[in-house]
Amino acid sequence: MDFLYARSWDEALAAKAERPDAVPISGGTDLMVDLNFDRRRPDALLDLNGVEEFTRWERVNGHVRIGAAVPFTRIINEIGSLVPGLAIASRTVGSPQIRNRGTLGGNLATASPAGDALPPLMVADATVEVGSVRGERTVPVREFFTGPKRSVLEPDELIRAVLVPVADGPQQFAKVGTRNAMVISVCSFALALHPARRTVAGCIGSAGPTVLPTPDAEQYLEAELADRRLWDSRAELDEAVATRFGELAGAHARPIDDVRGTADYRRHAVAVLARRTLQWTWTEYRRAQR
């Protein structure tokens, strides 16, 4: 196996162009598991750990631009208040060791429906900066995933950074696992309120072939919030509305039975998580700016 090493974005792209078969390695927390279990035997690895810009984040035009190799620990510690949904999700990832090594770029590229960073990126309307020697492009996270462990990333392309709008309202994330730490998601739910736009966004993790947005639930809730003038009154949210929102969100799940849980349970749990995260975000919204 060849081991390639890049010290800059350009070097990385050049290496990838020359060896499209080279598999990038960042934190290695997904890839090394595959290698250890002999699920993958790449002919070459491309080590991205020397690319300094991947480890930086910066604020640009109301966004946080997070380098592909910023690990979860730093997302939590350094930008938690700017991207609260992503920070909550980052806290649920693996163990301290995994959060120290695991990166946003790796989570996106793996494109697992159980990738915990993905639902909060969806509801925050994040975009992914990708590039190759052929040029660069930005892809909305909502269009990034094409199937289980599949994305729009071309063989010669790398992820450079993720642009996440600074939160304009409360965000939440909740994940069901069968133990209380270090657990792969059985299902999860991310929710963002966008009070300025008077919209809401929900996204299901780990209960379908990809992470799944929940448009019916969103439309229902947006209509209820508008009809009841709740954005302005900041009044309490009827439990029945939250429950209905949960049910509609659960209906968007496309789960299967597997070793981690049953499809029926997942649908049920997504509904509970959607209801609860709505109440949490709404409570936070009511408390803010009063």
Partner: protein
């Protein structure tokens, strides 16, 4: 003989500590820092790597095996099949029914079919992939209850049957009948309970190094629980006398029963003898899940009849254990399951049927608790159900029926020595309860779901549950269970040094400290060296059945006494008066406390060395006269019983089915705590393993295939799943046992599982008849 270049871990001294002192494990810190040499770290410069080709099918006929392409691979030195096994082609702990390498049929997914030696593990793996096995795939037999039917196809065409007429797939049927089970009772509760397949989940995978010797024999460095039982099986399959197969204990990365059976031992030795090179084998994590036996899954049917006042009138129980493809220790496991099926309660009328089945599922065998775990979930679930039916407090119901000294087992055996069932229950019940969860604030780590942020208090209900359990210490049913120890006392560099040599496997439980503590106490020396465990001394028996401190401790004690007698005889020969004297602080101390002589001075250049065997009191096989009327399955089959009780406080998110244990309180009688710290460690660890079975640990098998052979999906508790534990240790002293001790390792695993489930039932009102309890069992979705 050449020795591999890793330092062997058991040749260590423990610095201080007499019996009853807190004594630190000498290998504790190296294990935490990563310096400890495990069997997987063994290395010799000219060694080759051995790899196993395994069956992808749970049941298939092997038509042919073509090793040509594998053997032609560059770097490959040997490819062996069953044809290359010179001695017995079958091995087994109790029944030799397991092929060293598949002969004409494979009976479980992962069964070894061929082995390869090459200069690199990757080369060996690639070569193994080139072996062409022509399988005729057959429908697997995977349902243990269906396998009982006389119409079922057979897992073994000529099954080994243990005292069962027309057995078919039934490997053993243990019948226990005492009293009159046809009685009727005021209140009757019935229940069906299931236990999933738990794994021992040790961290150090199967591994070892076999080194060919000049005498045509082989030296095997191996992580195991019982060197001599491995030695016997390896020698039989190699066709060598036992003295040509020498085993030394390598660093053991946990055992819990999973190292009782042979895994790669015979394979590595076969390859070493064939290639005349040292052979290293290390299973991968995934392979490890196929490479050892698991805890038997169980289905149980219970019927309890009681008077209005709660007195048990009768108990009927049928327990069916899935033994998988080969016998392993299954006959003993089902005997235990039957023996302990009623729990530690008095009941004069019992009807128990324990069955263990051959199927094409993964072979099951020993795991901490050994048959008592499964039935404890059954009988304790029943006691809760009975308490509810009677309107009696579940702890009071248990105390009302609690076994005590002099009680009769279902087998008619009289329970000797302390049987403090009622006291253990009272202690856990009377312990203060943890504070209620705060309602005005929350800490995610203290909530079900933890930092996964699933609740901020919504849906959370608290439940409290209790359970008590027991099991046997030592091997039962007439087995001559013993250990051997050699103790030497000499002066080295002016200092008195005791050397203790046994073949007992230290698997992390702390026997090496206990042996040194015994020698220090009995011989009055400070410096004690534990010689590495190997087969150059007689057997120590297995590190299992909570027996090693009892048996090997007893042997070390006996050898120390013999050494002391030797010293005193020397002193007496020199005219000193040693009537009633003991050895203390390097001196012979007379009965009146006066120092008579310095042991070092007395010894000078001489060495006193003694070897002793310790045989525990004999036990009896259960009566098996199937034709005769009256009581059967009777006999004093067990040496000693060990008891523990648990109280569990659990917070349950009833909407999501997630659980956070708030606290576990446990009380256990250990007779005498030789090393109090190790005792608490065993109780905490055992309790945690039981929590794992209650909440998450299950090898999921479908159509004879393991679906989760990894720690990604075989979950074991993390520290956030392990609550604070209040541990109460009782030392009630068994007059028959060395130092009055009672085996410690298994009891905490037995009752913690049902106590957790009992707490979940209290919180949710759900019946919860299966472990592990999954979220959907709680939510009902």
């Amino acid at each position: 003989m050449s020795v591999p270049t890793t330092q062997r871990p058991t040749g260590t001294e423990t610095a201080t500590g007499r019996l009853g002192d807190i004594t630190l494990l000498p290998d504790g810190i190296p294990k935490v820092t990563g310096d400890f040499a495990y069997s997987s770290d063994l290395w010799m410069d000219d060694m080759l790597w051995g790899v196993t080709l395994r069956s992808p099918h749970p049941r298939a006929r092997v038509r042919s095996i073509d090793i040509g392409a594998a053997l032609a691979t560059a770097g490959v030195t040997a490819v062996l099949t069953h044809e290359d096994v010179p001695g017995s082609k079958y091995y087994g702990l109790e029944i030799a029914d397991q092929p060293v390498l598949a002969v004409d049929e494979v009976r479980y997914t992962g069964e070894p079919v061929a082995i390869v030696a090459a200069d690199h593990p990757e080369t060996a793996r690639r070569a193994a992939a080139k072996i062409v096995v022509d399988y005729e795939v057959l429908d697997p037999i995977t349902d243990s209850r269906a396998a009982m039917s006389p119409d079922s196809p057979l897992v073994h065409a000529t099954p080994t049957q243990d005292h069962y007429p027309g057995g078919g797939n039934i490997l053993r049927h243990v019948r226990i009948r005492r009293g009159d089970p046809t009685l009727t009772a005021d209140v009757v509760v019935t229940g069906e309970y299931d236990v999933g397949m738990q794994d021992q989940a040790f961290l150090g995978p199967e591994s070892g190094l076999a080194v060919p010797a000049e005498d045509g024999g082989v030296d095997l460095f191996i992580a195991t629980q019982w060197l001599h039982v491995d030695q016997r099986q390896v020698a039989e399959s190699l066709g060598l006398p036992e003295d040509k197969v020498r085993l030394s204990l390598a660093g053991v990365g946990g055992a819990f029963g999973a190292r009782e059976d042979v895994s790669m031992q015979i394979h590595a030795c076969l390859l070493a003898l064939r290639t005349n090179k040292p052979i290293k084998m290390v299973y991968s994590r995934e392979e490890s899940f196929y490479g050892h036996v698991h805890r038997h899954p169980a289905t149980m049917r219970y019927e309890h009849g009681a008077n209005r006042d709660g007195t048990l009138v009768y108990v009927k129980c049928e327990v069916v254990l899935d033994g998988g493809a080969y016998a392993s220790s299954s006959p003993a496991v089902v005997s235990n399951a039957a023996s302990f099926a009623v729990g530690p309660y008095n009941c004069d009328n019992v009807l128990i049927d324990g069955y263990i089945l051959y199927t094409n599922n993964p072979p099951c065998g020993a795991m901490r608790g050994f048959g008592a775990v499964q039935v404890c979930f059954g009988h304790e679930s029943q006691m809760d159900k009975l308490a509810a039916a009677l309107g009696i407090d579940p702890v009071e119901l248990r105390i009302h029926n609690a076994m005590a000294e002099g009680s009769l087992m279902p087998t008619g055996q009289v329970v000797e020595g302390a049987a403090p069932v009622a006291e253990l229950l009272r202690r856990v019940k009377d312990a203060p309860l943890p504070a209620a969860a705060p309602t005005d604030s929350y800490d995610l780590r203290a909530l079900p779901g933890g930092v996964s942020n699933t609740t901020h208090g919504e849906g959370v209900r608290r439940g409290v549950g209790y359970a008590v359990g027991f099991k046997n210490v030592g091997y039962s049913e007439g087995f001559d269970d013993f250990s051997t120890a050699r103790v030497r006392l000499e002066v080295v560099g002016g200092e008195l040094v005791a050397t203790v040599h046994t073949a007992a496997a230290e698997v992390g439980q702390g026997l090496i400290t206990v042996m040194a503590q015994i020698a220090r106490t009995e011989l009055g020396v400070e410096q004690v060296i534990n010689q590495p465990a190997d087969t150059s001394i007689g057997t120590a028996g297995s590190t299992s059945a909570s027996r090693q401190t009892y048996c090997t401790g007893g042997a070390v004690q006996a050898a120390c006494e013999a050494v002391r007698d030797g010293i005193l005889a020397m002193a007496s020969a020199r005219g000193l008066s040693v009537e009633g004297a003991a050895l203390r602080d390097g001196k012979i101390v007379a009965a009146d406390g006066a120092a008579v002589a310095s042991v070092a001075d007395l010894l000078g250049e001489e060495i006193v060395e003694e070897t002793r065997e310790f045989h525990h009191r004999p036990t009896e096989p259960l009566t098996r006269d199937l034709g005769a009327p009256g009581d059967i399955g009777q006999g004093a089959a067990h040496l000693q019983f060990a008891f523990a009780a648990h109280r569990v406080v659990a917070d349950v998110d009833v909407e999501l089915g997630l659980v956070r244990l708030v606290e576990v309180t446990t009380a256990q009688d250990v007779g005498k705590a030789l090393n109090p710290l190790s005792v608490v460690g065993q109780i905490q660890g055992g309790t945690t393993q039981g929590i794992g079975l209650a909440l998450m640990e299950e090898i999921q098998v479908k159509d004879g295939k393991i679906r989760n052979p990894s720690f990604t999906d075989y979950l074991i508790p993390t520290i956030l799943d392990t609550p604070p534990m209040q541990v109460q240790v009782l030392e009630l002293g068994d007059p028959h046992a060395p130092y009055g001790l009672r085996g410690v390792g298994e009891p905490p695993t037995i009752s913690s599982t049902p106590a957790v489930v009992s707490a979940l039932r209290a919180a949710t009102g759900r019946p919860l008849t299966r472990v592990p309890v999954r979220p959907e069992h709680i939510t009902g979705t």
